[in-house]
Symmetry: D3
Subunit: 219 residues, 6 copies
Amino acid sequence: MATGYCLVVLTITLLSLASSPALATDGKPLQDYCVADKNGVPMNGFACKPPQSVTADDFTFSGLNKPGDTNNPAGFKATLVTVNQIPGLNTQGLSMVRLDFAPGGVNAPHIHPRASELLIVMEGSLEVGFVTTLPETKLITKVLQAGEAFVFPQALTHYQRNVGKEAAVGIAALDSQNPGTQPVVAAVLGSCPKIPVEVVAKALQADDSVATQLQSKFK
Amino acid sequence: MATGYCLVVLTITLLSLASSPALATDGKPLQDYCVADKNGVPMNGFACKPPQSVTADDFTFSGLNKPGDTNNPAGFKATLVTVNQIPGLNTQGLSMVRLDFAPGGVNAPHIHPRASELLIVMEGSLEVGFVTTLPETKLITKVLQAGEAFVFPQALTHYQRNVGKEAAVGIAALDSQNPGTQPVVAAVLGSCPKIPVEVVAKALQADDSVATQLQSKFK
Amino acid sequence: MATGYCLVVLTITLLSLASSPALATDGKPLQDYCVADKNGVPMNGFACKPPQSVTADDFTFSGLNKPGDTNNPAGFKATLVTVNQIPGLNTQGLSMVRLDFAPGGVNAPHIHPRASELLIVMEGSLEVGFVTTLPETKLITKVLQAGEAFVFPQALTHYQRNVGKEAAVGIAALDSQNPGTQPVVAAVLGSCPKIPVEVVAKALQADDSVATQLQSKFK
Amino acid sequence: MATGYCLVVLTITLLSLASSPALATDGKPLQDYCVADKNGVPMNGFACKPPQSVTADDFTFSGLNKPGDTNNPAGFKATLVTVNQIPGLNTQGLSMVRLDFAPGGVNAPHIHPRASELLIVMEGSLEVGFVTTLPETKLITKVLQAGEAFVFPQALTHYQRNVGKEAAVGIAALDSQNPGTQPVVAAVLGSCPKIPVEVVAKALQADDSVATQLQSKFK
Amino acid sequence: MATGYCLVVLTITLLSLASSPALATDGKPLQDYCVADKNGVPMNGFACKPPQSVTADDFTFSGLNKPGDTNNPAGFKATLVTVNQIPGLNTQGLSMVRLDFAPGGVNAPHIHPRASELLIVMEGSLEVGFVTTLPETKLITKVLQAGEAFVFPQALTHYQRNVGKEAAVGIAALDSQNPGTQPVVAAVLGSCPKIPVEVVAKALQADDSVATQLQSKFK
Amino acid sequence: MATGYCLVVLTITLLSLASSPALATDGKPLQDYCVADKNGVPMNGFACKPPQSVTADDFTFSGLNKPGDTNNPAGFKATLVTVNQIPGLNTQGLSMVRLDFAPGGVNAPHIHPRASELLIVMEGSLEVGFVTTLPETKLITKVLQAGEAFVFPQALTHYQRNVGKEAAVGIAALDSQNPGTQPVVAAVLGSCPKIPVEVVAKALQADDSVATQLQSKFK
């Protein structure tokens, strides 16, 4: 849906996208499986592929053994396993993601509008945190070593950062087949079209000039 | 739960809180009503007040006829009607809020982790908008006149601004008894304790010095 | 679906319809939005309009600033804001309604089979009440002034009446995109076709002649 | 909760109660079972009995083989099997009921605020029907013989009547552990305290005198 | 979907199927009814039949008064009443089943992946039981006489056996429109194609030869 | 709850337990978090720890970097991360598990009564499969290499086996905070007390002597 002048934004956001797919508490299945028919009638979730044409491949996805390419400004990459990658996840209510971090790499603060998240650090060391709602706005944070797990409550702003000297890898579960990801700073500064500078300035408690300058980074 | 040096943040966030309470699609009631017992055992939602002590007042809240005080930096004030104001809302799955805006007043970009929102403009004129998730990050926006309604999808970043010359008033519904509100910029820049500057800088695609300066506004 | 001899009933019920639309705790969205395609394949809720053709107008509705016409026997009119008015409400789980009452106007006892309701009195003074289930059948009632809110538990019989000298206005939220409204007396006496008189008489604890006479009012 | 002068109503309503308990689509269990502890902390549903004190009897109920006593004005009796009769039903989301009808017996029009219902006629012949919401208010009705089943959609007004020469028996399932039952005419005319006569009269489209007379039957 | 050499399995499983259909806690209806259109677009549940072509027959099913034919190895037969038999059950969240047992007849251990079950013994005497999850694996069992009811928690392995000298009959409710049934021993030994013998042997804690012999019974 | 003579069974089942914890689509949170208070009032899920005593450790679990001990008859071990290990998972609707397999190790056919499962093979090669419900009873199976993922639909019987020459490791997500695990063969042959041999024999389509011998393995 994005117009041409949003291409750069798209490039940026695709990296962010990789950064942390999530899942939401979805509805219940009404049959054993309803493999998503991507070409079917658009509806909440997906129409079902005819059972007779369903195979084991519809429940499978490959490629999670390859490290994600973290050669980007964020030093971070995520590889998603949602209903968009495995049609058999349709109606099953969950998804996963592989997170790769270069040293110092960051999965910027973001939310998953339709899911809670449970992360396991497979390699390296990650600092993680989430922020509570008003009036508290409290940051609950911890540094995790390989083999440690952490839960991020539903739709709250959260982040991860590689605080080790080596690459770090995480595997996360989310309770939706399509959690959705919204890096909140990019949403406020880099949407297409842009949010009016006066609104951004008030949110930043700063002058319009500061807001304009910050927005300009997100062409 | 906030420590002393968070008092200022609290003052700020309380204003923001007013700015847009929301509700989530909660579970189903298992009896006619379960009036919240605020002093009861803490649980998901609330324990029920003994039926014999329930009165009509448990389903009532007053004071929505008074304009909210918008004499603050945001030029905005919200008056909540959630389970915290009406104990009878416990298990009923919805809440409402009155939004008051001074001319130019802004309800900064925020999310409701547990609700969708439907807003009706009662007086004045409001510019509203919400941002979609990755990879699109599209802003869907519109200027509403008195008598117009607009829906904000579940947990997506959204805002409202008074673009008229007079005060503006809105009434919104949310599909949770306790939607929660998180102004996303304040969550990233003003949490207690602060999110590490390196993380904020990467999110802003800016230098640490810029991040530090911005965070300093949210003491 | 109503046959000709139901036209009068329809006229009556449409007024009643205005009287109190409600919403139900619906399922969860599986994507940012699924704007209802009214011409799409019929399903639980609605099929989704293709994203590329979605605009801000799909999330908007106008006309709530005009008082509803209360020049009718009930002295009451409601203006609905459900998925039928705002296609963007599809999958979002809530709706709203504006209620207008002439002095003495009544929103007759009714239920919303798929929703709880939260009402705010904007102008005037309303007596409201709901009845609990068996074996209690207790009426919980209160007179509300402008600025007061009241909650009606899911699917219980409830009513509102303007007990002031001026017109009264209310705004209500419901936790379903399509709550449905059923004025219970009209459902028992005025369905099309009619419920057998023997059944109505037993419900009234009266003679068949009384039941027949009452039914005759609902041609 | 009912005061003394409601005793008669209670007697009547208890009969009606028997007439058709229903269940609602409840939440999901979070463990194998959570047997209701009737003396526990009041909450949505019930607290759980300690697992070590749970026995097979907690999942059992007796007495459905005895015909219900239909020697009453309605010529009808229901025997409930809800979480109030089987504590093991807590969190399991369903319940059942046995319905006994004398010849001509009627289960007056009622709703189940928290459930859909599926009825099987075991003996005799029953006329059944349900009414749709506004603007249609259509009666969908059928005469069922022994061995036939019929579904009543969630929370819609419905009734059953024995149109045979012999006693009739039905077994119904409801999708809630505590559906609740509200005979709608008794709710409007016989609540405690009474709904104001002016409201009842408008609902009946009749004079206050008619409303007063009808209400007087429900002391 | 089964290939020819699965016909025998099919014959066997159909008997088992009869043995205990169940329902799951499904989503909520978004309109009064959505009668299943079996020829419609495949989706989670079913598309809706056009309202104008809906009749009372869409909510009805016949034939439950005839005893099921128990002249088979299991001495058991079930007659289902799910959305597959009553299209009007679509979106309503429940179903029922009639269970017939010859003396000694057994409804083998099975699960309903999408439902809890509530059983009423109409005639005869049934021994029933369900097994809890790890680490307990406890059998909770009881002998029920005519008129007794018992609840089987969601998706746990359970069975019923006629321990009387006469035929036994049960009626059960399940909280899903399509609960699904999986006789667990037949699933492990008689799937099509077969589960590798090494896997079956480990599950049985027996030699491969024993596993092979047992699997051979389920051609 | 198990009596002494079930100790051996417990030892066996605990290994199996490790074999595949799962999660169910749970209800929605009604606040940011409700950290489980294991010593609190027993309820569906858990009571909440007082917010002021909540720390980051309540959302954390350690030890997933150590390979599970597969030196047991099954050649398999699972390490769970459910609400029992991370109290912060309460109300969040998901959990995870680490699965370790020795060469030839098997996670015997089992079900998760309250969850769907998504598995990622981290090391080695696993054959996986699940069986559909009646009347099909079809096995959908595939051999997965490191980096491949597979989904097991809600509550269906499924298994995994290490078909490689080296140890294999998997990480799985489940959509419940407490999915529960039931190895179906152990449930039928090794419950405490035992299921009557006549029932087991009919399920096996074998003689009582065969059933008795098989049950004897599960002391």
